[in-house]
Symmetry: C2
Subunit: 453 residues, 2 copies
């Protein structure tokens, strides 16, 4: 009988993460201090992040060792299986071979735990007592809540209001693991109060929640902030996905010509793709890397490559990103984890240099892909992950038209069991595609003018 | 580093299920025809079940081969890992070694898929076009919905009203996989209309939903009924859990002196324990088997061993069971999958013969166990599974008091991500224990008088 899942043993868990900076032709531009507009010094970040994470953020080393304590905790669910989507292939009647890495098997239901555990670990090691963070769909918040429970750290999560209201289950999950959860924008921070004064009905955004979480960390004792995507050290931790997949594809005797991840800030996309992109950077291997973003939040498709703030209020360093502008207020789409205005600096530079393709997926196409995947492969995918599936299906259909066998690999970043209300809207015909006009985008890009002279 | 998960490869998926009837000292009493009160003939069941499932129901063969097509589908998520609960052990400071089998990793989130797939397979093979079933918490319904999606069968699910209202996510899951879902009691069947006429606010029970699903199957063309627990063939399919665990415990170099499963109708309990109980039956191996049932639905603790109906209205054969009486209306506890009035005939006979111990667990104790498990091992357990965890914790604490190392194995029948509203009640202090008086039990047992002379 054919093998369905390519499995690794716990001993195969990689011992190092891969830092793509070492192999990039053009290194990413440095982050700038928001006040002086000069390149940031490591000590500027120390009130915000644990020192070891700052080192990783700025490192140019190719391989960074995974601490034993973290590898030990990875064993709770890692290595994750690489799965041949044979039933999906059959339904599509495609000659393409479709593989996916199932990151939805983590106890929190997504890939986010890959970075939550090391971030909690390095903070604990430094003697930090409390962490703060923001969460959109709730995937990152739940992951960090479990990680903090493991290491005995306090945690305050600022949860984007629209998700807080639409997804009470993720709030309860965080509370079950012992975290405190606040709906953002909130009146517990100056940043939140400023937004609410201007717009009491504001439904929140990742940008606003980041502002609140950073402010809280800076103003509290022995407290640091953590981020679940965008930054280099988060991307670094997520490369464990692609490093495992690399071994597994080898075991399957195949090589992925196309690697796909859904795209919010870049963490799961970079995690699955960077270890493969390395082959192209270091030995010219032909491989296509596709970022699948929602058409309603098209930072890579229609954004501008500029220095911009990571948050809405302007507390973070200025980062070189493809961005829709930090004022961009995304539509209330169900893929809450993809509602972010900017792309991480590493992906942005690689996109600029022509290494990353982009597909912008309408909401209905993404859920159609999710439904087909559920009915064939079993797992109901997270709304975010349905974007990657939609791209994989597009490529598999193209392979059929061209009569070519192709090997496609995508990342199933998480399952959608907490997002069933979104499927309810889809199945009952109440879901729509959001149209975003050029004027709206131009308006939100305005805030970038003269940010950096 | 110590091994956390004991993993098997896809080739290790057992090729046969284990039928404990072959090794039982006292064979189970035969099911009786509800009209004649005479032992049932196979053909009596043919309007209700697929023929091959009837053969399995009545079989005395020790090993029954798993069809290749079913083994192929098991590969979607099987073999499931056997996990050493090392963090839970540490939190309890116990010398006991605690292992659990993680059945929550199936795409539907529970062990129920182990039987849903073969049931759909045998029906499809016989040329059946549509299935009906009932579901309590929704675990069985979701599993059968996916199985029917795989085999292209129609499915109508009668979902116990209290779960239908409390757990919309499971309804949407079933719909995502293409099933039709009706709140039970409903006005679509005579059985449902009868209940509603007597009590329009009736919150439903598994017994009532079974009546409706059987009636619908009998009255529809080319349609059969399926059941997710209680019956011998369901128990048979679930033994794949224990058969895998048997190999895995061997690989761990340990032998479980205590095997624990939560108890509703018996499917996950029998699945994990029967392959081990076999060692006691065939070679006198010392091993304790513990069924953990909710104190509010204590059929094994306070029920009577009698012939009773499997449903409320009286459409099923009469089964020899420990039962609280088919009129028993369980409290609206959150472990919806354990709200059933009777225990399956195999477990009942083995309980009567002294092979099965029982622990009745109060609701608050079960959720305390669930919370501790989530904070240590990561996975938030299904409310049903928390009963098994509570028993494992009791035994681990006893081991500590006695200063003895013991090996404990329990089944994590499913994750609780769809049951977060129950955790919300627990965490906010709104959950209570239900008291069940002797009078209430005596009253519900009344319906058994003179059922079988």
């Amino acid at each position: 009988m054919a093998t369905k899942k390519i499995l690794l043993s716990e001993n195969d868990i990689p011992t190092s993460w891969y830092n793509i900076v070492a192999d990039m032709v053009n290194k990413p531009l440095p982050p700038l201090h928001p006040g002086t507009k000069q390149p940031l010094k490591p000590q500027d970040l120390e009130p915000i992040f644990a020192k070891e994470l700052i080192n990783q953020e700025l490192s140019q080393e190719r391989w960074i060792e995974i601490p034993d304590e973290v590898r030990e905790l990875y064993k709770i669910w890692r290595p994750t299986p690489l799965v041949r989507a044979s039933s999906l292939e059959k339904a599509l009647d495609t000659p393409a071979h479709i593989y996916f890495k199932n990151e939805g098997l983590s106890p929190v239901g997504s890939h986010k735990l890959n970075s939550a555990l090391p971030q909690a670990y390095y903070n604990k090691k430094q003697g930090i007592k409390s962490l703060t963070t923001e969460t959109g769909a709730g995937q990152w918040g739940t992951a960090l809540a479990f990680a903090c429970s493991v290491f005995g750290l306090n945690l305050d999560v600022f949860m984007v209001k629209v998700s807080y209201n639409q997804k009470p289950y993720r709030r309860i999950m965080m509370q079950t693991w012992g975290a405190g959860v606040v709906s953002s924008p909130s009146d517990t921070t100056e940043a939140g109060r400023k937004i609410l004064a201007r717009d009491p009905e504001n439904s929140g955004s990742l940008g606003i929640a980041i502002s609140e979480a950073i402010e809280k960390a800076i103003k509290s004792d022995n407290t640091r902030y953590t981020l679940g995507s965008v930054l280099n050290h988060v991307i670094l931790h997520q490369t464990i996905i692609g490093l495992e997949a690399e071994k597994q594809m080898e075991m399957a005797g195949e090589y992925p010509e196309i690697v796909i991840g859904c795209f919010g800030g870049g963490s799961n996309f970079s995690g699955i793709s960077f270890p493969f992109l390395r082959h192209r950077l270091t030995s010219g291997k032909a491989i296509r890397i596709i970022a699948s973003e929602p058409r309603s939040c098209p930072k890579l498709t229609r954004g501008r490559f500029e220095y911009d703030f990571g948050d809405t209020v302007g507390l973070t360093p200025l980062l070189p990103m493809y961005t829709l502008g930090h004022d961009f207020q995304p539509a209330d789409i169900h893929a809450g984890g993809l509602r972010y205005h900017g792309a991480g600096p590493l992906v942005s530079q690689l996109r600029k240099d022509g290494y990353v393709e982009v597909q912008d997926i309408p909401q209905l196409e993404s859920f159609e892909a999710g439904e087909l995947f559920a009915r064939t492969e079993g797992t109901i995918p997270a709304p975010e992950s349905t974007h990657a599936i939609a791209s994989a299906i597009r490529e598999a259909k193209k392979a059929k038209e061209e009569g070519k066998s192709k090997v496609i690999l995508f990342n199933l970043s998480g399952h959608g069991l907490i997002d069933m209300s979104a499927y309810d809207r889809f199945l009952s015909g109440k879901m729509t595609n959001y149209q975003l006009s050029d004027e709206e985008i131009a308006r939100s890009l305005n805030c970038l003018e003269k940010l950096v002279p």
